[in-house]
Amino acid sequence: MNRRAEPSLNVVPQIMILLGIVMVAFIWTLFLVQSAASRDDALQAQRSENSNLALIISESLKQMTDRARAMASLAGDELAGTSSRSARLLTLLAEDPVFNRLSIYEPNGNLRYSSHPDSARTSIGPWLSDLADHTAKHGYTPVLPSRRLDPAMAPGQTAWRLPFLVPEGKPGNGRVDRWILVELDIGYLSGLLQHVNLGYGGFLQILDGEKNEWMRADTLGVMVGGKPVKGLFFASSNRVNSGAGSFELSGKRHQYVYANRSPNNFTVVVAQPEEQILAAALGKQNQQLVLNVLMTLLVAGIVVWLVRTLRQQQLALKALQKSERRNQNLIERLEGEHARTTRAASIDHLSGLYNRRQFLDVAAQALASQRRQRRLSALLFIDLDRFKSINDSLGHHIGDLLLQAVAGRIQHRLGDEDLAGRFGGDEFVVFMGGNRTEVDIEKWVSGLVEHLSAPYQLDGSELNSSPSVGIAISPRDGQSIDDLLRGADAAMYSAKRAGRGQYRFFDQSLNSNSDIEEFHLEQAFADALRERQFVLHYQPQVCLDSMEIVGYETLVRWQHPDYGLLFPDRFIPMAERSGFVVPLGMEVIRLACEQLVEWQQQGLKAHPLAVNVSPIQLSEPGFCDRVRAEMERHGLAQDMLELEVTETAVLDEQAMENLNCLNDAGIRLSLDDFGTGYSGLAHLESVPVGKLKIDRSLISRICNSHDDSPVVSSTIILAKRMNLKVVAEGVETPEQLVHLKVAGCDIAQGYHLSRPIPAADVPHFHATFNRLQETG
């Protein structure tokens, strides 16, 4: 918004300045137009006024010529001879304010009579010849003769009398009998004019037919020796006409109007300098000019003020916008920080994946969304095989690097709608969204397993790891993330049991491959027994007091011709289901006996062997007898064999009978996996066992959490009170070993001491271990 508003803000002052200019231009244009108009008006007004004046004066002059004609008519033919009539005429002339002279001429121009013979023109021949055409055209009208041809006065001399020639004759014959010259006193005319307003500098002219000046007068009187006026133009007409124009005189432009009387051969001109006409208008114009200048200054002032105000406002606005932007930045930064903090709280810092809390949150939403779209979702529970040992053997640093690498590989394969999280340790979970089929899911998981099983380059060393993956599918296996997690977890354990780098569906029907494998194994079981494909591995048990090997636990392996060496978790459950567990159990006892015999024949020190007995086997009638018979058949001492039973086994009555039988026969018994079941120690009083084997899950807690060590410690103390020897299994770290020894544990076994080893390796191990203890 701010950025868009800025250009318009810049435009506003420009518009204001433009408006100001337009306003000023308008004011001045109006002024110029009005000035021109008022000038024209003034000139026009003066023109019409002067036009009236010229017409009136010309009319007056015309009436004077009429008067001249009347006067001329008094001077009859007989006038010249009659003195009394002459005296009457003279008196008339003296009393007449207009005319004071009268002369009569023959048609040829010679003087016949004059009121003032001493100063009369003796001949007017040039005038008469000049007027011949005029008379022919206009008839017997009084005319003003040519100034140029005046026989009495040289051109340029100031005339003081205006002559009018009146032709007389009999109407009709077209012949002039005589000419009467009547002279008008110019003083009279100028006297009349003194009360006429011609305006300052204005003057009046009386011109003859050739535009020569007879008289020029202004309000002061008759003007003498004025410069000749040039540039007059009159429209020609046979009648009276008037008009206007202008001319230059003494460097000043004059406006003139004229009244032209062609029949009487004269023109009256009234002229006035334009500057005088315009003086009044000019005064107003100057007032207007001052007003305009003031208005222009006012407009300019207002515009400047507005622009300045606007600019200040803009500056304020910009400052505001700037601070707002700064605030916005701060807010964004704050929000960023907040988002980072929230993310940090929701992200596992080591792997960069969601932590448990956040994953459950996000995955629940994703699951809901998937279900709304009626799509399949899958939850993967991934556990790294042997991660613990990697961590222990190579250090936490490498462990962490491995976790990061695994997280990276998982993340790399995620689709847009997939989520991944780390629940702690080596537990990863993946939620698979999107529109996938079961086949798609399996393909993806298979790819993931392969991908995660590829070697890792960590800190310069190569590392091999593999995942076990459990898969639960919604909606089949559960409607909630919790259900799915449980399912996937169980499936993951199943996969783990199946060996390394395996994946399992929670729904067994989907585990097509393992079904086939299990089927094959079940089919091959009888042959395997017959062909003696089962072998034993031996894990030493060490006395914590003497640090000497006091016995071995036997662990069965299936040396399968096709699948290789199989661990018991691959075939024991199947054997239990199919009933093969009983012959398998006897086969293990037989193998243990054979091995004891072999070691005795080789001269090795005899150590008892512990054999696991399945509850099914233990609940078989005659089990005790068969074991005793087998012992006897090999000629072994009774105490060379130790049978490990589980808590569940001792609940059965037949099992108890077998146990008592065995105990009576001197065969040693121990209780396996103690701490995982629900039986208490008090329950053990009736069970004839000499040893207690604390389950590996309890031992492993010693390392992970020292808080749980009191459980192990108190278990050991209680077992001692019941006169039982205590064996700790799954000892994997020196700390556990130290802790167990301090707690009073008698015997320990585990990876820390030795992995299960083949029988062939036992003599060498034995020798090496003893030597190690002696030197250590």
Binding site: Q63, T91, A94, E95
Partner: protein, 289 residues
Amino acid sequence: MRWVYLLWLFLMSSGLMAGEPAPAGSCGTDRLVFSMIPKKDIDEQLREYQPLMSLLSEGLDIPVEMVRASSYQSVIDSLISGAVDVAVLGPGAYMQAYKRNPDIEAFASLAVEPGHFTPAGSFYSSVLIVDRDSPVQTATDLRGATVALTDPASTSGALIPKTRFTDHIGQSLTGFFAGQVYAGSHDKAMDALLAGKVQAAFVSSSRVDEYVARGVIDRDRFRVIWRSEPLHYDPFVFRSGLCDAVKMNIARLMTRPSEQRRRFLESQQATEITRVNHQAYETLEELLD
């Protein structure tokens, strides 16, 4: 404005029509015709002369008519043609008339009270005056100015300037002044000067004094830039052929003290009417060449 003109036109026309031919009288019998050169407003002038007219009318026992003249020339023409029996002319006008008809006879003149511009007695001068505020100090300062004259036949208002003044400046008036105006009378010339329409005026010194006397102007309103030699006052002139008895009667009436005469002299700021003859004006003859 237009109505003023129309009224003027009407009055003028009616005035023209009113003039009826008068019967021509024999020697000094049935009536006396009197005229005078225009020096001021003609009606005022006629009013001032009224005591003189009644004096003559009563003394001669005949009607005395006054002819209104619009210019010096018309008075001269009337006197020469014999239409006027007695006329008051200016010195120059008298000489112009005398040249045309030497039988006319100048017989009397006024002697005036002393004035600011004119000494007492029968003489006056032509003066070139300017306004007191004018920057002009000498005649030559007036080069290129506009000047008011009186009448082409006026002695002090035209003839003297055209001759004596041109001698003084050594140049014709037309060349010296940018504009000349014949105002028609001394008063009009002074009015033009007062109105600032002209920068200077040639007038009779006695006319200026009369303006002062009448209170139209202060005595120092005008400054005199140039003054001519003394001129004899306006003569009263008989036409040629006027009956001697009448002439004598008129001269006697005008020179003998009487109430009308006193009133007339008072109106003219004059002290006396003195007898003169042609010799008093002869010196001006050269002006007319």
